[in-house]
Amino acid sequence: MRLAPFIQNAVIIAETDAPTRDVALRMMLRKLRALIPDLEVESVLKDILIREQESSTGIGKGIAIPHATVSEGLDSTVMAVATLKEPIDFNSVDRKKVSLIVMILSPEGMADGHLRMLARVARICSRDAILAEIMEAKDEDALREAFLAADEKCVG
């Protein structure tokens, strides 16, 4: 599933100085609310954190992919991407602090697309050379371009 159409419209935040996981996630959701006025930030954050309690979406290598399905206010899947100036604790599987967060929100009833997007992001981020290019991006445009280039390099 190509990420390109979603990345084009994604909220991108480069080098944020958010000090904790929850602060970073809330900030990303608030930025998303600017695009989706009906998005209930605290409600979605709660759903994301419940998911994190089940098992962390910190998949290792400094990456986290928090995600949730949203019952109201969303017509299609949206993404927000943030890189962190200082890595933050995300209870990741490899215990490594996180410096790249890719948030995915989908409307309820779109499980297939949600899973495919999760898989796509996980695939892209699992490739060290591609991940290095993403991590090197210093501003929003460079980050968006790095994800678009990464998407082009992966089969699918």
């Binding site: 599933m1 297939d112 899973l115 495919r116 898989a119 996980a122 695939r123 992966c154 089969v155 699918g156």
Partner: protein, 109 residues
């Protein structure tokens, strides 16, 4: 529709390939654990026990993946497997082939 049969060693490849299957829209697959011929021969047939070094891939268990997919997904699946395993120069990583599906009936509870 075609039945994809993938025989793959090394869990790291299996995880990446299955993640890729989700990405390309293959919604289900069955994974069965197994042992390769070389593993069986070298452990069960005494005459082959000393030939371990000549039989590739003996250190890894074998996984078989079965999935039914349409032609477009099969093409993507083959490209995906090449993408994941293609730059690995080890022998005996696995094999992928497809068979035509005569009839297909999803069973829903």
């Amino acid at each position: 529709m075609e039945l994809i049969v993938l025989v793959i060693k090394q869990a790291k490849f299996l995880d990446e390939i299955l993640t890729g299957f989700v990405d390309i829209g293959i919604r289900g697959a069955t994974v069965v654990g197994g042992r390769g011929m070389g593993q069986v021969l070298s452990s069960d047939v005494p005459i082959f026990a000393s030939l371990k070094d000549m039989l590739p891939g003996l250190d890894f268990d074998t996984h078989m993946v079965f999935s039914v997919a349409d032609r477009e997904q099969v093409e993507k699946a083959m490209a995906l497997v090449k993408e994941v395993c293609g730059d690995c120069d080890e022998d005996g990583i696995g094999v992928l082939f497809t068979l035509p599906v005569g009839r297909f009936m999803p069973i829903k509870g």
